[in-house]
Symmetry: C2
């Protein structure tokens, strides 16, 4: 069966590009530079459930996108997390954090309301990140 | 300079064992089965700052401890996260989550007050986890 992105992730994000075995998505919340990586394999909830080669690909994608996003955004800290309490499909958050952002020093999840990008801004941001991240 | 564990991590945890290049610590909060992995290298804040071999060792330690802790605790979900907003030394949280735990479905950080283990319970738990996790 071809890979199917979970409907909640599809609703919450914009597609940017693919890196290694992962879709790279932009979380639709303009408060934070926030990527979501989704290994393109169905019915996986945990990193250790991936095949060994997919584990390695996913890790390379995590390190690659985190470092590039950190440089690009001049972040104070990167947050990298696989939680999946709400959406069971394995996905990894890569978030550029600032000491002055809306959630610092706490994590971003569940803090306030997401501020969706305006359509034109989303398009610009996706293009900018595709240029940055596409291998 | 020999590796030095950040004083805040030392204050918040009990030492369990070492896996790969990481210290494996027990967060002193009996509400959650909660490990913290700390790569034994000074002055590292981000996973991508580690050498390539240390990145790989750390990832193996993450996958290994997450899978064993999940099985051991019959967790509903594992949370794996490198945040570091409060303590700059690179550390990775490996947390066994239950749909009935005190923070579900949110993340555990900043929720309520930690419930420290009683001394005897901490000793028992550390021994149990050392038996489980020591390679």
């Amino acid at each position: 069966m071809p890979f199917q992105l979970h409907s909640q992730l599809a609703a919450d994000t914009h597609y940017i590009t693919a890196v290694e075995n992962c879709q790279v998505l932009l979380m639709n919340d303009a408060r934070f530079p926030w990527l979501v990586l989704v290994p393109m394999e169905n019915d996986i909830r945990e990193l250790y459930e991936l095949s060994k080669s997919a584990q390695e690909q996913t890790y390379r994608a995590m390190l690659y996108t985190a470092e590039l996003l950190a440089e690009h955004t001049h972040a104070d800290k990167m947050n990298v997390a696989a939680l999946g309490n709400q959406v069971p499909q394995l996905h990894i958050h890569i978030i550029a954090r600032y000491t002055k952002d809306a959630a610092w020093p706490g994590p971003v999840w569940g803090v306030g309301q997401a501020e969706p990008y305006r359509a034109a801004d989303a398009k610009t941001k996706v293009q900018e990140l595709a240029d940055l991240l596409t291998p």
